[in-house]
Assembly symmetry: D2
Homo-oligomer: 298 residues x 4
């Protein structure tokens, strides 16, 4: 299939490569000439602007952009995709943005005759490279069924979450819970160790008890409990604290829009903001435990 791809950043570039590897024809656009030429070397065509890309003979366009402002501009701007794309072309936005913005863009696309899906991902740059991302997809189920094989070239877990915007809802809700859980695990581990327990023994008990969660079992923030996690390598790699901060900001903003309280969610956002302001935004998000450990070097 001939696919258009906009946004060749840390996530978008490896995703686009996986589409090429799966045999698709690709036309790409990015503001960075270097990012574009790297994809062109791998076999993609390039377009000089979103408008040009929209007018190429693509059947599907995928976008992967930093924030809602970029998404709105690329889709709804005067020289944006909707102003130039042929009706019937399917649009998939894989950016992580707030659900209401996603619905606004999807509604404009629908009016223009373009099926649209929001399909934010989880799995990080590692998952993007390995083609093992999870896609949380909002939109018509028929559009979902039709595009699932294409998304499957970039991810291994493609989940339909309901109508337009619900992919974003699922991501924002899950990641807010993740941020809360991680801080909760950090507090529980730091408290237990401060009270004299061995970290590994404590983690073992939590993981067979009602405190069990992904952050304690798979991604424990206390150094020495697990191998091959960021806590085992000085919190490098992984999912950055500033990315968690961004997602918590989306959650509290979406909550505000629907007048829904998220008390622990908002506090988790502020704790990551505090941690980031202290210069730690580039560390993996499990490093938040250093806020709680007197003996930590941070």
């Amino acid at each position: 299939m001939h696919i258009g791809f906009l946004g060749l950043g840390n996530m978008g570039a490896p995703m686009a490569r996986n589409l090429l590897k799966a045999g698709h024809q690709l036309t790409v656009f990015d503001l960075s000439a270097a990012a574009v030429s790297s994809l062109v070397e791998a076999g993609a065509h390039s377009a000089a602007s979103p408008a040009v890309l929209a007018q190429a003979d693509v059947e599907l366009i995928i976008t992967m952009l930093p924030a809602a402002a970029h998404v709105k501009s690329v889709y709804l701007g005067e020289d944006g995709l909707l102003a130039h794309v042929r009706p019937g072309v399917t649009l998939i936005d894989s950016s992580t943005i707030d659900p209401l913005s996603a619905r606004e863009v999807a509604s404009a696309a629908r009016q223009h005759g373009n099926p649209m899906l929001d399909a934010p991902v989880s799995g990080g740059t590692g998952g993007a490279a390995a083609g093992t991302l999870t896609f949380m997809v909002g939109g018509d189920v028929a559009d979902f069924d039709r595009t699932q094989p294409i998304l499957a070239a970039m991810g291994k877990n493609i989940v339909h979450c309901g109508d337009a915007g619900n992919g974003q809802v699922a991501k924002v809700a899950n990641n807010m819970l993740l941020g809360i859980s991680m801080i909760g695990v950090a507090e529980a581990m730091a408290l237990g160790v401060a009270l004299g327990m061995d970290a590994k023994v404590l983690a073992g008990i939590i993981n067979t008890s009602s405190g069990r969660c992904w952050s304690s079992e798979v991604y424990n923030p206390f150094p020495g409990v697990l191998e091959n996690v960021p806590a085992a390598r000085g919190y490098s790699g992984g999912f950055g604290s500033d990315l968690m901060l961004k997602d918590l900001g989306l959650a509290s903003e979406a909550a505000k829009q629907v007048r829904q309280p998220v008390i622990l969610g908002a506090l988790a956002q502020q704790l990551y903001q505090t941690f980031s302001a202290q210069g730690n935004g580039g560390l993996d998000f499990s490093a938040i435990i250093n806020l709680y450990r007197k003996d930590a070097e941070a």
Copy 2:
């Protein structure tokens, strides 16, 4: 074995019954005559006071009391166990109390020549009746090994957590994390539904993603997601909000004693306090989601 058992409340009574069923000889004490006579009918002997029980020919004494003040009084009081028990008798306190109080009592017992274990449980009254409790045990490993078969008559998961007090540490750390996770799940589910998602679909996504935890998978607070949980029956039964509030209070108190911050833990305590002050302390602790649901009847 001849075992002394003090404290025949909602938890202690079924635990004592399971010891009788396992063939042990039991001498019991409780302030409630009704509680005592019910156990006597089941085959136990009764003692008129802790002092009398301590002087009976028991090899092991188990206590199950409401709070640290009772534990200190029963063990350390002028007419308490340590003033009357024969050195060498093993002491097991299954009450849930703060770790420092547990260590204080264990240290006094040791000085008196009595091995002592702290062995708080999880699993609730259902687990106590079914003999499927989890015991988190602190104390010498030899004492742990020796008493494990007796605890196994009351529970199916008997875990050694390290030295004296560490059973309490494990419980307090796990339950603080549980309280945080439950509120986190409540916020995430309420937010997702307020933003237009189906609760069951959202729970399914969370349970295969990084937000996955015991509170989302096994005990989801949103009505209609799971059967056979308190949320499916108006939040009756289960683990009461006031019991969670007590455990969160122990966590923040223990944290204060070792000058350890527990930011989300303290906020979770206050949210359960708010919920309890609104008259909901008797509801299962997953009912905290009603703080967040505009459409909830509570």
Copy 3:
């Protein structure tokens, strides 16, 4: 002076009336025909659109709008003020919006040759009617000096806060502190009374001690402490909880934009959101004490 006035809501209408009373000539615009005709009866001219108003022979335009989206649309929209106003006309926006949006609009105005001031107010509808508002003004000091006499027709306290946007900064910082203080007073009063103190005695001590603040002295939330405050009349009138919620939302949004933690501020926002979701958004913001009083009827 001939002044244009856009936005004749609960605040804007009485402000415009005070300008008429002070002898100014007024041309007004509002989407509500009723609001416009009421001002016309009082002596104002009306304009059919912001564009028409901009083209009238006004020397100064004042806007009083609900949120940043309206302000951006009215000033920056295709048919907005800047597209039609003559360079040199001074623009004053008295809406309460986030500082960065205020600076964006002021910068566009400056480029177009129009001096612009942000001048949000405090004092509520009562202060608007009585002409006793406080204006917090950001922009060039010369523009401030020149327009102060006009603002003085609507308020009694006109403060220069620095460059463009700083009026909004001052308001957002002050009102975030106000929200925190009010909840703090609510907690302290509720705690003291729950512990057995008389509310009036406690307020007296606080007001001569280090806990003293505007919320305890002038606007105490506990019923019976002060007369002529919302707490004395069932929390009617005053500054609505939903307005406080809006201002706390602006504060946390502005904080996010500059990556500044506001931990208590964000929690205050969530508590007002919780209170509002329980149906209390229309009550005065001091009613938040009902979240803390078991004996309160709310």
Copy 4:
């Protein structure tokens, strides 16, 4: 009058000196021989133990001790004051402890025939030396009236707060509000400055607006706003963060005892705990603003 004085620490010693200066006869006790001999040099007699002091011919005994455990031990212990003091001698405890402990001791004193007042102070070591402390006094009004002249030798503001324990209630409620207000001012000032305002201008606006409070007006935490405050001298002197942490701990403990939520109060406690765990417990409590300032050196 012949007065007994127990507890000659940083606060107690200067208070005792002021009683001597006012012409009273003093018999003192402290575990520190150095503290005792310093007072003896100033004219006091010394007693070898609390029991001996109680049996001296004193008409009034004042105690100034670190925490509730010491107060209970000194008054209620086997060799404590109540076991040895003559009925009729008035007892005044100026320690800062939780209200329920204060009431327990006062009730025991009353049963023994001794009028008792709880009279915690504010004003710090500076106020203790200058004799300008504030005394918040709980107990019978007749006892209050009778002892006021004696307290007036040590303080300038002697306030009756109601029945036994209410002195502690007033202090705990006021200081919890103070901790919340200080963090609120810290957040508001840091936010305003991060958004581009001058700190002094912002403080001026807050101090004439609804955010006005003791912490903004008299004790502003932002350096450069006020002279002669800890913020002007690197946060040395003043009221230490660890003392604020202790008082916030008393507040949340007292709240727990009466099942009263204190949401911001508990969060303030955790923020001071975090600040203290980072090594800042010895700094004045206004230094908490360094948690929020990216440019701060701390």
